[in-house]
Symmetry: C2
Amino acid sequence: MLIVKKFGGTSVADKERIFNVAKRCIRDYQNGNDVVVVLSAMGKYTDELIAKAKEINPNPSKREMDMLFTIGEQMSVSLMAMAMDALGVRAISLNAFQVAMHTTSNYSNARLKKIDTERIRRELDDRKIVIVTGFQGINKYNDYTTLGRGGSDTTAVALAAALHADACEIYTDVDGVYTADPRLVPTARKLNAITYDEMLDLATLGAGVLHNRSVEMAKKYGVPLVVRSSLNESEGTVVKEVVKKMERMLISGVALDKDADRISVIGIKDAPGSAFKLFNTLAKKNINVDIIIQSVGREGTKDISFTVAHDNLKEAIELLEEYQEVLGFERVDYNCEVAKLSIVGAGMMSNPGVAAKMFECLYNENVNINMIATSEIRITVLVNSEDAVRAMNAVHDAFGLAEA
Amino acid sequence: MLIVKKFGGTSVADKERIFNVAKRCIRDYQNGNDVVVVLSAMGKYTDELIAKAKEINPNPSKREMDMLFTIGEQMSVSLMAMAMDALGVRAISLNAFQVAMHTTSNYSNARLKKIDTERIRRELDDRKIVIVTGFQGINKYNDYTTLGRGGSDTTAVALAAALHADACEIYTDVDGVYTADPRLVPTARKLNAITYDEMLDLATLGAGVLHNRSVEMAKKYGVPLVVRSSLNESEGTVVKEVVKKMERMLISGVALDKDADRISVIGIKDAPGSAFKLFNTLAKKNINVDIIIQSVGREGTKDISFTVAHDNLKEAIELLEEYQEVLGFERVDYNCEVAKLSIVGAGMMSNPGVAAKMFECLYNENVNINMIATSEIRITVLVNSEDAVRAMNAVHDAFGLAEA
């Protein structure tokens, strides 16, 4: 078996943790597997580098920031190789240049294009554990790039795809994907398996332990993912294309996103293009909007409501007020005391009663639904913050997620 | 003009110093020159990296140490590029991969083989200041190597040679090469110019501000070197092939090396090979010996004396005692209260009276000479420690170095 194992920054934050990771990798190696390890920068090291840079230049160029950032993973991988060596196992560290990890040219947010596997294969054939820097790549100018958020996960999945690995294990501080956040839903249960699409929706909803870029790539190349804990030996959650019927439930998880504020634009002209103009104004300022509903207002007007992340609320309101005349609406209104509650499940595609069941459950709990949005495999409702956790638990239980 | 400027770790140890260096480089750039900057790791950063490594593995592989070390210079160069950018000047940082700085394959002590200049030329043509990592290279395996002691100086000289630079300026914490260490000889005077050979001898004698590897390379490729202070605007010392007669003195400098202990092997058999066996035994343990004299002993024996660095004394004595029977000598004797005093000067080649003048001066000062060694352009004597500084000042004055 060829196994790619990815460990995040907290897993390599100090000497003890580095040795824990080393031992875990060595066990697979000594069982006869080929092992490729992908590492992030140690603990808060990236934050330290940002602080160093900002001290010199409050607005450093992305090219030079990437040049600076990439030293973080290079430190992790060389120290890991030394740790494995201290444990008597041959290991070698490789950075983005040495692997040849080709990316697009945009700094700070590059996308992987092609990974050369020759050097890694050679080192594996030589029976070494190969330790690769996550998060970083090189572009056509032969400059360092970084992959942006979730970058090391993406490196691991891409390496697994390029090497046709038998498994790609992503180690985190939780022991898998849960039916809901266990801190909010005491009966939440760890899932043994979940589909790529379900994982993608959970990731997008902020409930995911994986960044959606890495899940998208795993789906695209059919890389078998496992999300496991770096702290214990629990089996983790397998993420794959199709989850066998027996273990598949109607829905896989319930996610709650408290970072959502509702904005309502009241009395906008009911004319073609008014919604376009409204959202175009916001998009130009990079303000992402989520759930949108439109309702009929009075006298040839309509009301449009949508949600934004809390960080964008102030700017969005100011922007709308600035453009009030151009957009032609009566007034703007907002509510911060709301949360998005979602259920996700590939099973709902073939079960039309799922939405009704969710709404019934919320009605029984006396939870008011402010807005609704649906996709093929998820249903999201906007509820009042004070109801959110209670609603989440009710829905979780109504769909029998605690029992499995 | 194309100018290569090299700054050591103390010159880039903090934000203020980084900006000082940046401004200094920008001045040359704004005067219309092409500027290439070579940097070492910041302050004590390399020591911090060694500590991190030793914590993980007391005996780390050299390959992985080099992988770890190279992040130090990468940090310096990216921060410097950000500083220049903050000052409104276009700059770009490049590491050993990006330049393509080819070295021999031996880790921790590689030698530069070939430097590609294409990327640097392109960036210079684009009117950028190019900031290059010193000390590091890549070998035929595409792995990082480091150049060992004096590595960043060597990088700067090699780059200057490859780019046919008009000047290679080495910035240090002293403002040039002196006729003697000013802390010991109050009348010591800064030299405006010195030959490569003189500089080499001074470097070897521990009085140099440049590592002899970089001087050797400068000599080989005829790179015009300047040693200058990073702290002030003083002109510094030019190191070149031939120093014009007018400014050339009989001797250029007086050097004192206190790190020398004398060992005497008394009553060794006066037979062929006995000296060879003696020094071969020491060489096998990597103990370097310096000044050697041999004198006739009693009854078919001889005495051999030599100097070693103080760190090697204990091991050398133990080794000699261990091999006493094999080497066949009577006893071993040593003296730590000695120092090596040297005069260096290309002028002495054509002036046979120099040695006599030095000895006369020491005689007048009542300084006993224990041992003597000479080369074409230097004379070294071993004196008692208590006489050393007095002797040094006397010689310095006798040769008129204070006046120039």
